[in-house]
Every structure is written in C-alpha cells, then in structure tokens.
Symmetry: C2
Subunit: 420 residues, 2 copies
C-alpha cells in the first residue's frame, strides 16, 4: 500500500506484504506478520473480501474491483464505489453509532477499506432461510433507519453542508445506474439480463401489461433519481445485515446516495416479506407458522422503533431549514400534523419500493437466496408467484395499506393464496 500508488488487486500472496506497514492494521493484528493469515471470503457480487488474522486480532479487508465480480470484466464498474462506501460508513457511524462495522483504514487509490471483522456474525438472509431468530434486530434496524434518515436530511443538517454532501455522493452515479436499471426498469420489460423461474410467464405478462403499475414504478424511479432527501444506505436488504443471536450490524453501503427517505425502509421490509413468503420451502410445517409470525413481528416492531425514534429526533434535533420551530412551536403551535404527513409519505414511498424490490428479485438479474435456494422449480414458482402478486398489490393499492398491521394482513393473505 505504502509503496505503490497504482491500483492493484490484492491476492492471498500479496495481502500480507502489502498491508504489513500500515499502522492501524499492525496494531490490531499484532506486529509479528509471520503469524498473519489471510483467507478470501468474498461472497458478494462486486468485490474482493479477505479476512486477515494475526495473533492479536482479526480484520476485514474489502477491495473494489474495476468490474462486477459476479459478471466479470465485461461489466466495468468504477473503483470509486469504495470511496462512497467509506464515506457512507463514516456518516452512518456518526449518525447511528454502533450499527456499522468500525473502519480502521481507507486507501482511495487502492479502493480498499480495512474494517472490523464481525464475528460470529452471519448474513441475515442465511439466518432467515435457516430459521434462526435474532434478538433485538428490530431495534437496531429501526434506530439505524430513523437516525441515518433524519440526521442526513435538511431536517437536521446545515443546508449548505448537506448540499455539499449531496454533490459529493452524486459522483456515485455508476451504482445508482445499476439500481435505476436492474431495480426500477428491467423487471417491467424483456430486458437482456432478466431471468425467471419457468411457469411465471402469465403473471409476468400481467405485471408488464399493467400501465398503472408501471406509471407508479416510474414515479418512484423519478424520486430515486431526483430526490435527495437524505443519505440512504442504498442496498439495505437482508444480505447487507449481519447478526449473531443477539447482535445486529449493517454492512456494505457502497450504493450510498442521497435519495428518498422511504427507500431503505422499503427495501428492508420487502426482503423480510420475501423471507416470509419463501418460508414454506425452507421449514417443516411444525416450525413454519412460528417463524413466519416472527418475521412479520420483526417488520411491525422495526417500523414502530423507526417511527418512535424519528418522532423523538423530530422533537429534539429538528434544527435544519425544514419545518423550523419558528413556524410552529415558537408560535405556540404543534408541528405534529407536519410530522404525521411526512411519516405517511415515507410509508407510502416505502410500500412502493417494497413492491418494486420484490419484482426485481424474481424477474431481474440479481435474485435472492430466499427463493433461489429452492431447488424444486414448481415449489419455487408457486412461492414467487405469491410474492410477485403481493408486490403488485403494494404498488397499486398502497393508499389502502395504512400501517404495518395492514401490511401483515396482506402478507398473510398472499401467503395463503394460490396464483399459478
């Protein structure tokens, strides 16, 4: 690192010599580099990820590649995404302390972040498939969303600082472009990289044939591409959450961008909904109902924590230009109606995003293991059909879904339904 100024991907052979002179690394791993051991664990779609262990401790070393790892060098992707991940982690850590891995070192040229090794944490998606509950997960996720969304917005920030930060993150356009295409657009036409389980063709026809649905989806895309309300994680699904039985951390914010407040919430909820709908393929009927109930409770509890903390911050940290106290409290008037209206907008945006995220995970390029791990295509397509139809409902009838209880009822209805 210190001897090279040109980008070069790490390998198992070079990682120790290249990192051994970096102070934060040696102080955590121990200075006897002969004891350092590296292993590559990259199981994501985009990057190189190593665990580096020494006699005193261990670390994660994450390095961006100049292309999409999942696809290869035919799909170039700028190294700058590491810069945006680093900057997102720094802001998340200050806005929502203890919810993201600690960062120890960042090298912009090498597109490399050295960070805390979360152990014995596992990816939440795997735990949901395995039927392993996590204590306290709703609290961590609810507080994380409330604090990052509120504190990254004009409700809280100095507006000139916020504009500078929005301008900085607009540089992450290549990763926004992925979301704009793969999430908001590809599911709704016969795009090149799409793939789907056989048997879904009729439902896909229904979705693509629904003009009202597509208008609402494109409205949501317009918000995604032109609405800089707050710094979003940008990819907050169950693959970006790591848990033990009672600890939860949020990782991988390389898609960080200033966007609508409902974006992270909607993506997160939809991934719980997909976990819920896919459960019958992963669980014996004995444990099925209980674990499905637990997932729906997580959604309800998460959103309750989110609204409570958002309300708390509204009362205690509303120092930005929006809804200033001078217009409400200082005139002896309540700002409660403003908060209610804002929360309602966030909720409706989140429902739309939820529906879209479900569609893209079943129809577009990047599917998720909740469904993809189901070997039997008949079973998979039946469950995916429920999810697709539920997604359509969330987008088209969001005004009728007042809260997470109403959402739970809808989830149960589609879970019971049969659409193939």
């Amino acid at each position: 690192m210190t001897t090279s100024t040109e980008y070069e991907p790490l390998t198992l052979e070079t990682i120790v010599p290249r990192l051994k002179l970096i102070e934060p690394v040696t102080s955590i791993l121990g200075s006897d580099t002969s004891k350092w051991k590296a292993a590559e664990i990259g199981d994501g779609n985009l990057n190189l990820v190593f665990i580096l262990k020494g006699d005193k401790g261990s670390l994660i070393v994450k390095q961006a590649l100049p292309y999409v790892r999942l696809v290869g060098d035919s799909w170039p992707l700028p190294l700058t995404r590491a810069f945006f991940e680093y900057n997102s982690l720094v802001r998340q850590n200050s806005r929502a302390p203890n919810s993201v891995p600690k960062v120890f070192f960042f090298d912009k040229v090498q597109a490399l972040i050295v960070m805390e090794f979360l152990h014995p944490h596992k990816i939440l998606r795997g735990k949901l498939i395995a039927g392993e509950p996590v204590t306290g997960i709703s609290e961590v996720l609810g507080l994380f969303c409330a604090r990052t969304l509120f504190r990254g917005s004009d409700l809280s920030m100095d507006t000139s600082d916020k504009k500078n930060d929005v301008a900085l993150f607009l540089g992450n356009s290549a990763l926004c472009d992925i979301t704009e295409s793969l999430v908001f657009t590809d599911p709704y036409f016969d795009a090149k990289m799409n793939h789907n389980t056989p048997g879904l063709e009729k439902i896909i026809g229904q979705i693509r044939g629904d003009i009202n649905l597509k208008v609402k989806v494109q409205d949501a895309l317009m918000k995604f591409s032109s609405n800089t309300e707050t710094l979003c994680h940008g990819d907050l699904h169950s693959g970006s959450v790591m848990c033990t039985t009672d600890d939860t951390k949020i990782i991988d914010p390389e898609f960080g961008f200033y966007g609508p407040m409902g974006f992270d919430i909607g993506m997160l909820i939809s991934n719980f909904l997909m976990a819920y709908i896919s459960q019958p393929a992963h669980r014996s009927s004995k444990n099925l109902v209980k674990f499905q109930d637990w997932i729906l409770e997580i959604i309800i509890k998460f959103y309750e924590v989110f609204t409570n903390e958002f309300t708390n911050l509204w009362k205690t940290e509303r120092n930005g230009i929006l809804f200033p106290k001078s217009l409400f409290e200082d005139q002896g008037q309540s700002s409660e109606k403003a908060l209610e209206a804002l929360l309602k907008n966030i909720w409706f945006d989140a429902l739309t995003i939820s529906g879209i995220e479900i569609h893209r995970r079943i129809l577009s390029l990047a599917h998720n293991a909740d469904f993809e791990d189901i070997k039997d295509e008949i079973i998979r397509s039946r469950l995916e059909a429920k999810a697709l139809m539920m997604g359509k409902e969330l987008i088209l009838n969001r005004e009728a879904i007042n809260d997470t209880n109403a959402l739970s009822i809808i989830a149960r209805r589609f879970n019971q339904g049969s659409f193939l």
Copy 2:
C-alpha cells in the same frame, strides 16, 4: 481583465481600460475605444450592471458584487453566483434557443458576464404596471419553460451527465439559501427583515395561524431543497423578463438550481396574478377590465403552450431513464397516463409555489413594484389583502383547481372580493 487576476469591481472610470483588450468586446463595440461610453444601469437587487456602447454596437456588462447590492456589505453573497448565471445561460440557450441574451464573454475571477444588450426591451413588470401589452409573450415563456424543464431532466439527459450537472449547481447554495429563507420561511413568522403595509395584521395572523397552510408550504420547501428534477431558472418573475411590444427574452438566472419542475412555472404565474390584482391602482376603469383580461389570457395561453410543447418533447425526445419507451410504446402501450400524471404534479407544485411567492412578495423582504408603487397605503393594503387571501387559497385548495381556467375564475373572485 487580462492584466489582473484579483477580483475588483468595475467602475465607470475603469470599465473601458479593463475591457478594451478583450476580443469579443472589441469586435462588437468597435476597436476605437475612445468612442466607447459606459453607463451604470444596475437596478436589480444584487449586482453591478453597465451598458457599454461603441461606434459599432453595444453590450451589457454584469458583474457580481461580494454582497447584496440592495442591502450593502453587511449581507455578503459569494461571487460564484456569476458562474452559475453563466452556466445557466449557456444551458438555457442550448435547450431553449433565442429566449435568453447571447453571452459573449465570461470571467470567473471577476464574476463578470458580457452579454447581449436587449434594446429597446423593458422589464416586463414595468410594462404590466404601465398597461403595455406584449405580443407573443405566452409563446416565448411557454416554450422556454417546456424546453428547459424537459431537456434539463432525467426525461431527456443522460443520467450520469445530469448527476454531474446537479452536483455542479449544488454549489449555488448561497442563492438557494436566500430562497429557502425569504420565500419559504420568513413570510410565515415574524422574521427580522419582514415588512408589510399597515392594515394587513389580521390577515397575516390568519396566515401564520394556519397550521395546514404552513405544513404545505414546508412540504414545498422540502421539494425545493431536495428535489433535483430539472434545472430551474430559479427567479422567473416579471422582473426577469424583458420585452418590446413583440419580443420577449428571459434574463438573470443567477438563482439557477436543480429543483422541482413546477417551481419556475409557479413563480411566473404568481407574478402575473399579482400584476392582475394590483391593476386597479394603476389603471383608469376605462382600460382596467381589458388589461386585466389580457393578463389572465396570458396565463392561460402560456400554460397551454407549455403543456403542448412538453407533450411534444415527451413524444419526440424522451430518451432519458424515466418512463422509457421500453416500458410503454415498445410494448404497444400508451404512456399518456404517465404524462398526464406528471403534468398534474407539475401543476399542483406550481399552484403551491404561486401562493407562496405571493405571500413573500407582500410579507417578506423583497416586495414587488406592482404593489410597492401604490402610494396610497389604504388602496395598497386592500389589494395586497386580496392577493394574500388568494395565495392561501392556491396553497390549501390546489386539488380543486384543475387548470388555468379554474385559476382564472379564482383570480376574478379574489379581484372582486374585499378582505379588509
């Protein structure tokens, strides 16, 4: 200019020696600089403006000052606004040709733009006060809005280019800050720089006491500060339009920023509405009705031209990421519903901005001559009361105002009404 790299305001004494070596200037004015004559005409609130005449032609030289000219050096304002004005003019000229003055020279350090001298053009606001109609004004303004709003958005631009441009214009935060404070906030509380005609206190109390109104205003501020739909002029009132009897040009885009599509339209319409309401103080009853009718017709015709051209561009230039043809026309489906929904949102945003702009022009710092030139405070307050109440109606009941015909009926109702 060419001999100095440090910012220095021009004076009548220095303007000729400082500009005489700049090629575009000499080629327009003529190279015999002994024949050059300068006059200061700055009547705006912010900048130095000179006319420079030579034996071959004439030019406008506009230079930003490091403070607000209207207030003095107690209110500093960055020179960079000239950079944003220049960049706005360049984009407006390419997106809506022939609607803005030609730019001949720009010096970033000197915060100076040399541009076309519009002659015999007069500021539209003065013509509206004097009762002088302008032929073709609706067409120019309607085409300007449609073309700049459409072509500066993700409906048309490459989204990565657009994000870069949004990032660039986020640097204009000082001028956005003025709008955020003076337009969206100050009218709704007892702000330091506010002033108003005596007699309006009761109505002001009604406006500031209306929580629903203030929630809607702050929603609009949230859109202003966090919605980067398109490059807006940012200050498109009748003081930023210059006309002869049959030519119209749009000037002064130093408030240029990426914001909601309804912003320019709303500000423009509200300035026509204020001109309309203020007419009884400027016109004998003989000519009053005719000229008031003409103003309302301008609004209707302007919006018709806007929607027609926006629709035309939707059909012919929709090459951006939003509402792509792949999701509609290429699947044999119409995108008309999407266009309708978008135009409806623009209209509702415009109505809200109209109401807010009316409020700030009567209650905040920068009033407009339509009312301010009325010497008799009793008459002025009566007319301002009508405008204030109409503004409230536009914000609170916008969903009931379907189009410009409905808006005209409302304008006529408040024109007839009496509120003091």
